[in-house]
Each structure stands twice: as structure tokens, then as C-alpha cells.
Symmetry: C2
Subunit: 147 residues, 2 copies
């Protein structure tokens, strides 16, 4: 079925795999009315509540307009709140609401199950290796874009 992917250029293979992975995870998050990106943002907030949008965008590897819109959607659902920073009145500090906290705590095990399915049969050593390669790619991109 996907035999022709064996010889796929690596860039396409990464992209296609990523889309399939994301799609699979999204099936698990659907029952929580969460997209994978909304999940990622709530997950980050669970670790670092009360940071501003710029910081949240940086840590989620998204740009600020994208973060604005994801937060809009999360706010409509009542899962985050934006409070004007007292130190800097341009900035909003983002916090999870009680409902938002409950939602992310419920979604985390489901997402973990999806990830477990996706990485089934791939040993911890291989996973560590994958992680290493991904970090190397990140560093290459950083290096080349900053010189």
C-alpha cells in the first residue's frame, strides 16, 4: 500500500509521516474537543501557568499570530483566561481555568495511548536515537538561519 514510500525523498517521508501521526493522535483527542495544537498549548500551560503569550508561543514553537488564534479558540471554550500583566500593560498573562485544567488532565492519558500506538515496537534505544537526530536537525536549522 505504501510500498512506494520506501524510496521517497527524506523530506517528503518526514512530512507524510508527521501528517499521518498527527491525524492519528487527533482521533484520540477529538472526544475531548481538542486539536493537537490546542492540546499542546494546554499541556504547556499545565507546566508553566501565568506566562505571557510571547513566551508561550516561543515554548510551543509557534508564531504570535498563531498563538493568538489558538488562545482565542481555547478562551471561547472557557479553558484559558487572559489577564493584563501589571508589569507590562501590552502583555497578557495566560492561565488555565479549572475547566481547562480538568480537560488537559483528562486528555493526557488519551494522547499518551495514541503516542504509544504510534511508537509500538520501537525500542527505547531507537527512540533515543530518533530524538538525537531531531535535535541535530533543529541545530542545523538554527545554525543556518542565524548566519
Amino acid at each position: 500500500m505504501i510500498d512506494h514510500w520506501q524510496k521517497e525523498p527524506i523530506g517528503f517521508l518526514i512530512g507524510n509521516t508527521y501528517r499521518r501521526l498527527i491525524h492519528y493522535v487527533s482521533l484520540f483527542l477529538r472526544e475531548f474537543d481538542l486539536t493537537t495544537e490546542q492540546f499542546a498549548v494546554l499541556y504547556r500551560l499545565r507546566e508553566e501557568d501565568g506566562i505571557n503569550q510571547k513566551e508561550l508561543a516561543l515554548r510551543s514553537a509557534k508564531d504570535q499570530p498563531t498563538m493568538t488564534r489558538i488562545l482565542d479558540n481555547l478562551q471561547k471554550k472557557g479553558w484559558i483566561e487572559k489577564k493584563l500583566s501589571e508589569q507590562d500593560r501590552r502583555a497578557y498573562l495566560i492561565t488555565l481555568t479549572p475547566n481547562g485544567r480538568e480537560r488537559i488532565e483528562q486528555a493526557i492519558p488519551a494522547e499518551a495511548r495514541a503516542i504509544a500506538d504510534v511508537f509500538a515496537g520501537i525500542s527505547p534505544e531507537k527512540l533515543a536515537f530518533l530524538r538525537e537526530i531531531l535535535l541535530a536537525i533543529n541545530e542545523n536549522v538554527n545554525r543556518h538561519t542565524h548566519e
Copy 2:
């Protein structure tokens, strides 16, 4: 700068790396007025000219509505043509125009340079290993979505 990514959950790490990679490649394709997805479709057509949209979508790992819209954009630029199939009058056969062929031939070396930057210092063995893991992920997703 990206120290906090060291301990990032693997799903987020893959997504963030993918976005950074795609962004870097897109900088190289910009001078050819091509997005990475448009590049991918032209690249595929260069190998298999005259196939229908459904087949093209399948081989590019995109759904049909997405393919319709990418082709719309490529057609506006005059780089592909759609001809009604004589065997099946529901289907369009997609072909590269001479301009489209010229465009993809010019863009390929630029994309290759971007990919070379991104994978600099990563040995062929590691790349083969990465490919193996990505294929395993694909098979896992396939298996789980079809049972």
C-alpha cells in the same frame, strides 16, 4: 535557546522539528514562487505525468480536496494542465506544462541544497536509521487505523 526542547515529549519534538525544517526549505523555494507542497506535487508529476488527481493525491499523501486546491494554484501559475480523461469523464489527467517542467527542474537543486543543510553532519547510516523509524511509524498508524 532551545535547551528546553531536550526533554520535550517526542510528539511535540517531531512536530516542532518538522515545522522548522519545512520553514527552512520554504525559504529556498520562495524565489521560485513555490510552496513546499506545490514543489512536492510538481516533483511527483515529473516522475509520473498524466495521472489523475486521485492517484496524485494518494502518491502525495494528501486528500482529494487538498489536491484540488494545490492544483488550482499551480494551474493559475500555468505550470500544470487538467485534461478530461477519455476513459472516465469524471476524472482529470494532470500534466506538467513546459513552464511547469522548467520550474521544477530549476527548483530541485535549490531544495536539495536546503535538505543538505538540514541534514548536515548526519551520517548516511543515521539517515537510513531515521528512514527505518519513520516507516515503522507509518506501519503502526496503518495497522491501528485499519483494525
